[in-house]
Symmetry: C2
Subunit: 342 residues, 2 copies
């Protein structure tokens, strides 16, 4: 197992990325190739004595794609950008997976251009695991594509179902279509047309429409939606969680001695709960639908998130997710991205 990590991508790169990689090398005993500015990476590594014995190596790349750049233009022109070089290591069979906390658009574009789409897949999709009281729900697409066609959403459903089965070990995962009501007739044109395709499928366990509230409650294992909606919902959840936490802290701060004592006594319990609901426990979301394992991490990832994300790459590769998706699509009589039967 060898994982290419884009050391230059992310708000806290290369520092937190490199530290996360070191942590993961110890935890998962996998080889890691840090891709990016060698001098900068080496400087961070110098703070981690003994890193050479952990199976960590450096692959120099002279360029970086910044957050504001146009993804397709940047990937095409910056041939030596860290994310481009890292993705190519997967294409060339040197590495089993690529991971980046840099520009999501650049990572998705690099994967599409270099690894190419799986046959039968019109658009790749980002599958974000969300912790719920019942375990985990996979939300996809969470931002790789917008204005997706119904066939694309169906393909997301197939891929998400396979991922949930082989990575989360959920038998016959419950797949839901994110919509504004339970009934088949509800929703926008995209949702209604997708429902019509899904209800006739036997490959996946389609359980009908999922309403917004079903996602945090964990009523479905896999929830499919357009990348526009998925992205808005995920960022909303992130903002809401942070806001609630901030307000609770402020309230305790301004709440007198008894409130402070109460908070102190309650802290261990809340911390345990927080850990259970912590999104950084997953740390990364796989991009499904390309010929290779590509893991997208949040821009604000710290060492802990990066370590978890490398764990996700590990699970993806060991679960043989790619082969399962390729096999299923080869067997299935589903619609291709052009809307025609294969």
């Amino acid at each position: 197992m060898k994982i290419a990590v884009d050391a230059m991508g992310g708000d806290y790169a290369p520092l937190e990325i490199v530290f996360g990689a070191v942590r993961a090398a110890k935890k998962y005993h996998c080889e890691i190739v840090l891709v990016g500015d060698e001098a900068k990476i080496r400087e961070v590594l110098s703070k981690e004595p003994g890193w050479e014995k952990l199976g960590i190596s450096i692959h120099h790349a002279s360029q970086v794609i910044e957050m504001g750049e146009h993804p397709a233009d940047a990937v095409r022109t910056k041939k030596d950008a860290s994310i481009v070089v890292a993705t190519r290591l997967v294409k060339d069979g040197v590495c089993d997976a690529v991971l980046s906390a840099g520009s999501t658009g650049a990572a998705v574009t690099a994967a599409q251009l270099i690894l190419r789409r799986i046959k039968g897949i019109g658009r790749p999709t980002i599958a974000t695991p969300m912790p719920t009281p019942k375990g985990v729900t996979l939300l996809l697409d969470s931002g790789a594509n917008v204005d997706s066609k119904p066939e694309h959403l169906v393909q997301s459903g197939i891929m998400g179902s396979i991922y949930a089965e082989y990575v989360f070990k959920i038998k016959n995962p419950r797949v839901g279509l994110l919509n504004i009501g339970e009934e088949e007739t509800k929703g926008n044109e995209q949702a209604k047309a997708t429902y019509a395709l899904l209800k006739n499928m036997h490959t996946i366990n389609f359980c009908g429409n999922a309403e917004g509230r079903d996602v945090p409650k964990g009523n479905f294992d896999v929830v499919i939606c357009d990348g526009f909606v998925g992205n808005v919902v995920l960022k909303f959840a992130e903002g809401l969680a942070k806001t609630i936490l901030k307000l609770i802290k402020e309230a305790i701060k301004g709440g007198g001695i008894l409130a402070k004592l109460g908070a102190f006594l309650l802290m261990p319990t809340l911390k345990k709960l927080g850990k259970r609901l912590d999104v950084t426990e997953y740390g990364g979301a796989p991009l499904l639908g390309v010929n290779g394992c590509c893991i997208i991490s949040h821009g604000s990832s710290n060492a802990k998130s990066i370590c978890s994300a490398i764990g996700v790459a590990n699970d993806y590769v060991r679960g043989d997710v790619l082969a399962h998706i390729q096999d299923t699509l080869a067997k299935e009589d589903i619609l291709t991205h052009d809307g025609e039967k294969k």
Copy 2:
């Protein structure tokens, strides 16, 4: 001030609706007409001695539109349904506002068919107030329409801005377009086309794209989006809040004596915070874009929510929201719902 309340709509109708109306009559000193099955309403009122002196009256309606019914068919065929009769009371000038916690589709359809759309408005929109640390953010459309055209979203922006100004007393409200990134080039076709229209407008204070996380943080006063996205986001928020609360309670229950003591000491502080973030403090969302005040309440509304919602109707009418919207649209050189200049 006279408000028509659909006494038969909602999960806890007529009980909680009637109790809420009594509470509001005391609080806001407005007249209330309870519309629905007279015998059932009278039975509930019998538990509220002295209700006759509060300016509450009953208007009998023999039919009810159930949640599962097709809104347009039901509104057209059930001429004596409580929501239809209540809406007609506004049309006829008997009442100043109508309020329902029943089928949202039926309430919206009744308003459209009976009150009619305001000239210059292609589609009415539900404007839901969300509590934030900075005050309140109005999210619209939160479910009246899906697959809206860019012009409809622009109209939502104008109406939301007026509502925020005259009801929430926010000077020059900051209007944002819900999108997946800050940049003008981000988003789906609908968002990009809407941005292009909004950036040239001088009637409203358009401040660019709002990402999902900006909504709970309260970074905008008014956030506009398609009803599909708005509905998913609102229900997601509702589910997330409930899930977090449930998990905290469970954690405390299973957390030993110190955790329980801590929770006890912290409770007053958290309750104060909870009140600040409580959505039932608003209780209802106005349907903007029809010629009359129509307030939509959550199906699970209790007496407290209904009372608050009647407060919303009060604010709407006293703020002269309808006249301000009509005036602005009459003056404005904006696109009509057909995409043509007026």
